[in-house]
Point group: C2
Chain length 595, copies 2
């Protein structure tokens, strides 16, 4: 079955194959890939589209001497397969041995760990600059999807690449899609270039000072090899504008590109996702329903996404139906937040939905465009907290990122009732820039005490009044706090006070002072990195009192595909560990015996 | 003397003047502006270049119904002068009554507080979107300098503006300069457009999907009025590419545009800066000398700037002399850090010099492109700490921004010996991404204990061993710590321990444990926002011990042009206040009597 693939251990083995054999190799890889992705899930569309081009790249260039940088790197499966990691695609027992992104820990053919979009051109420019200073002669190749071009870093990179004056090959893999459809004026130009075979005079890349060539069919390996061979060792930067088809060779994926951008394990015959736990009560769906209802009543409400419209459930139909009130800015978080600020400043009601990891791309806009201007926009932060995923997509940094910026109010609801109440308030008020940390995937419910307003002063919710130990359980970790409270009582008889802080920004001074009366230990449970987070403010507050403070949360480190359970265990975030840590402190000689 | 200006109180008064009178008004404003800027200093070049265009904008449009957003807003002096703030330019006693940037607190004609570059297009897009949803019909105008176009947010904004489908006028003020010369391929295209009168087929703005028109002489008010009148109420986004001369009408500024971008108070006749305190022993100059010496010995050392080459002293001559080893990426901090990561990854030695405030523009690149990849680049952070300046350019946020990202080592030297030792180490090592916080403007010297390596484990310097109170005085605040130590001894007889932490990232656990033996109070002095900073880690560390911790630093707030002394006073950062706070804690009932 794998007649040619069997012969490929390292990229240079490709050079033994004829063009025809290379083409058949691509067929083998495609078949294998579909089977493997059916079993494991993954980024289907981009990987199926990039098989021929990746084989061509490794045929023409000599990795790792020639350096290939994949933008986002979610299209790197064929690259991994050709660079000594074949078994991770062939052998079900080894499926887990590689990640879905490039990773220098896996192979010398992976130069960087990459997962965020739009970075490859800048990274490659640096490699090329270093090469030039050392007087070396290798090729540096950045492979960038058209969807990534809307990101500021990619545009900064293109603009600067033009000044490099030496070899740099920027392959633009134009499959006419981002995760969803592309947005922005530059895509009109890509279309014009596709339609004119790259000959249109008005050319974005040339306007950015770059040389340019065009490949009409990037799924034809011979064409790609011909073009790349011609420009190998070119002495200046060039853009290779290459058209491919997302999902190529798997009809279901070709036909519905957005749904097949990323897929959980699926049946290859029917395309149906296996083991799907159907629940409608997700924050995604509930937020969508909430926003749609609001939009119908108020034409100034605008939902904004930066290339991930399904984060709050807006599928293609809904996007069309609410096209005036739904804005996808493409991968452009900086623009998204600045635009939200502008909308809010003129009296509109913007709601920007973004994942914790991608919020990082707009720190300065949060600070300067939004918070400094007190613009009453609402930002919903999804996928926040400890999760099992790539080290490039961690959700634990949003708190430290946002809460140390002035003027922002960052709220941590503990359940859906509180979440929607806060969201409702965020839309109604017009004085504060409000962020809300979506508490997980599946909505939970509890009998929560709501505030009429979340403007200052900060007021925490005392859910159960106890003594000796107070548990500040933030957002999604409220249930963990409840578990700790119950177990602590069971184990020691101590009835702890259980508190929902509601606010990630701000300290409820009055309550913290009250706690001093009959509490000796405050613990903080925070689903994020402890450093720079919520709990450190509490520790600082009590710095000169005799109150003891114990912080729980994630350690400051990058973590790659470790299960949530393992991380909880490592960070002492299980009920048993927390109770044990409390017990240890209560027994310590440092602990006062009073009360 | 101010024959026409006397008649202008609000923008609509301009409509009473004939074209000829408007032109004479511009002359009056120019004369007035030069006198005023001679006395106060300010952004000379951009303001002199924009007088005619600003008068034209306010003549044609009806601010504040029509909304004009100035990018960076350092070119807004004529705007302020025409919108009810004339006395701040005419009357020396009122010079201080307005800031150098737009500010909604000053006038309804200022929509946003703006000081960072490349934001106006996105902010204006939001205003326009909100206008459309509300069914209103005003014009929205973004005024953007050519230098700002290299920034990712501006390019994201242009790309998205094209999809707005309604009125948005983007005036590109092309004076063929950033602060220094422009860098990047797009500037070749601007030149081509200038040379062809805007008729070249290859057009960056059209390639981004935007309509386009060209103004050859933006210093001719009649031309500008004609074009703007024609496109007023246009029903789609358009770029007005307008050429002006930076420094127009003041010969000295026309001739040396970089030096006259911003100027301290100067003699109008000679152009000489008044009251210049000449010192060569600045970190700017010393860093320049250090880098030049290194570059001569090692061809792989690269100094990188994002549009502010003089931050470490590279003037035009030096830039030319070291053109291979000096890279100005234009205003593009994201690209700068990603490129530095690439250079380091291939064995080069990048040193990126950036001001604290602009580092904010590259949080994600610090995290994903640099730290995650352990790229051994060096970042020098200038202008960090509390300063008297615009709320848009504060230097207190870099610590909270950077130290909560994994893998980074952020060092805080206390004097020039330590600074250059750390910089030297940063260049020699090849395992860590290293940041160094430049300790002020003028270099200071002391007898410091240096480490052979600043890799982990973290090791603080105990400068003076004492008891009861330990003072952790970070970086530039070391001298403050020394002052507190001396005054405390004088006032109370307590000999405190004085510590230079060296590291902003990381806790010297061994030392902090030792301190428990004969200290009861640790104070931390930090020249940055306390929230998310260094001191909170110390407070957390001691959270469950009986050690008391008191944090000193800046409050989390935006502060506009308040003197350093006033801020110190407000934040309890004077020697007397700190000693008094220590004394208060030592007397408090919470404080243990032991030791």
């Amino acid at each position: 079955m794998s007649r040619y693939l069997d012969r490929i251990e390292v990229p240079k083995d490709l050079k033994m194959l004829s063009k025809k054999e290379l083409s058949e190799l691509c067929g083998e890889i495609r078949e294998l890939m579909i089977t493997r992705l059916g079993a494991t899930g993954g980024h289907i569309g981009s990987n199926l589209g990039m098989i021929e081009a990746t084989v061509a790249l490794h045929y023409v260039f000599d990795s790792p001497v020639d350096q290939i940088i994949f933008d986002v790197s979610h299209q790197c499966y064929t690259h991994k397969l050709l660079t000594g990691r074949k078994s991770a695609y062939l052998d079900p027992e080894e499926y887990d041995s590689v990640s879905g992104f490039t990773n220098p820990a896996e192979s010398e053919h992976d130069i960087f760990s990459i997962g965020h979009t739009s970075t490859a051109i800048s990274l490659a420019s640096g490699l090329a600059k270093s090469r030039d200073l050392k007087g070396e002669k290798n090729n540096v190749i950045a492979v960038v999807g058209d969807g990534a071009l809307s990101g500021g870093e990619a545009l900064e990179g293109l603009n600067n690449a033009a000044t490099l004056g030496s070899n740099l090959i920027i392959v633009i893999n134009d499959n006419d899609m981002s995760i969803a459809e592309n947005h922005g004026g530059l895509y009109q130009n890509l279309r014009l270039l596709r339609e004119t075979g790259g000959t249109a005079e008005c050319n974005l890349f040339r306007a950015l000072g770059l040389d340019y060539c065009f490949i009409r069919n990037g799924n034809n390996i011979n064409t790609v090899i011909d073009v790349l061979s011609r420009i190998k060792h070119i002495n200046h930067p060039i853009v290779v504008h290459m058209c491919t088809m997302k999902g190529y060779g798997y009809l279901l994926a070709e036909r519905n590109k957005e749904n097949w951008h990323y897929k959980d394990p699926f049946d290859v015959g029917t395309g149906k996702v296996l083991l799907k736990t159907e629940t409608h009560d997700t924050y995604e769906n509930l937020t969508r329903d909430f926003l749609v209802e609001k939009m119908q009543k108020d034409s100034t409400i605008v939902a904004i996404t930066a290339g991930t419209p399904k984060i709050f459930g807006f599928d293609e139909n809904l996007r069309k139906q609410y096209s005036k009130q739904f804005v996808d800015v493409g991968i452009a978080e900086e623009h998204a937040i600045a635009m939200a600020s502008g909308i809010a400043k003129n009296g509109g009601k913007p709601v920007f939905g973004v994942s914790s990891s991608f919020l990082q791309r707009a720190y300065d806009q949060l600070s300067q465009d939004l918070a400094l201007n007190h613009s009453p926009a609402v930002i919903l932060v999804f996928f926040a907290g400890i999760s099992q995923g790539s080290q490039t997509h961690m959700g634990i940094f949003d708190i430290a990122l946002a809460i140390n910026i002035p003027n922002l109010i960052y709220l941590a609801p503990t359940c859906k009732e509180e979440y929607f109440h806060m969201l409702e308030w965020g839309l109604e008020q017009n004085e504060n820039s409000v962020m809300i940390r979506v508490p997980g995937i599946v909505a939970t419910s509890r009998n929560v005490a709501l505030l009429s307003s979340y403007s200052q002063p900060v007021q925490y919710e005392v859910v159960e009044q106890g003594r000796k130990v107070a548990i500040l359980a933030l957002g999604k970790f409220f249930s963990l706090g409840k578990g700790v409270k119950d177990r602590l009582e069971e184990a020691t008889g101590i009835k702890a006070t259980l508190i929902n802080p509601r606010y990630i920004t701000g300290v409820d001074v009055e309550l913290l002072e009250q706690l001093k009366e009959n509490h000796q230990l405050v613990i903080i449970l925070e689903d994020g990195v402890i450093d720079g987070g919520f709990g450190e403010k509490i520790a600082r507050y009590y710095g000169c009192s005799s109150m003891k403070v114990l912080n729980f949360g994630a350690r400051k480190e990058f973590v790659d595909w470790v299960t949530v359970e393992e991380q909880y265990e490592k960070y002492h975030l299980t009920v048993e560990q927390i109770v044990s840590d409390i017990f240890y402190e209560l027994k310590s000689p440092d602990f006062p015996e009073t009360c």
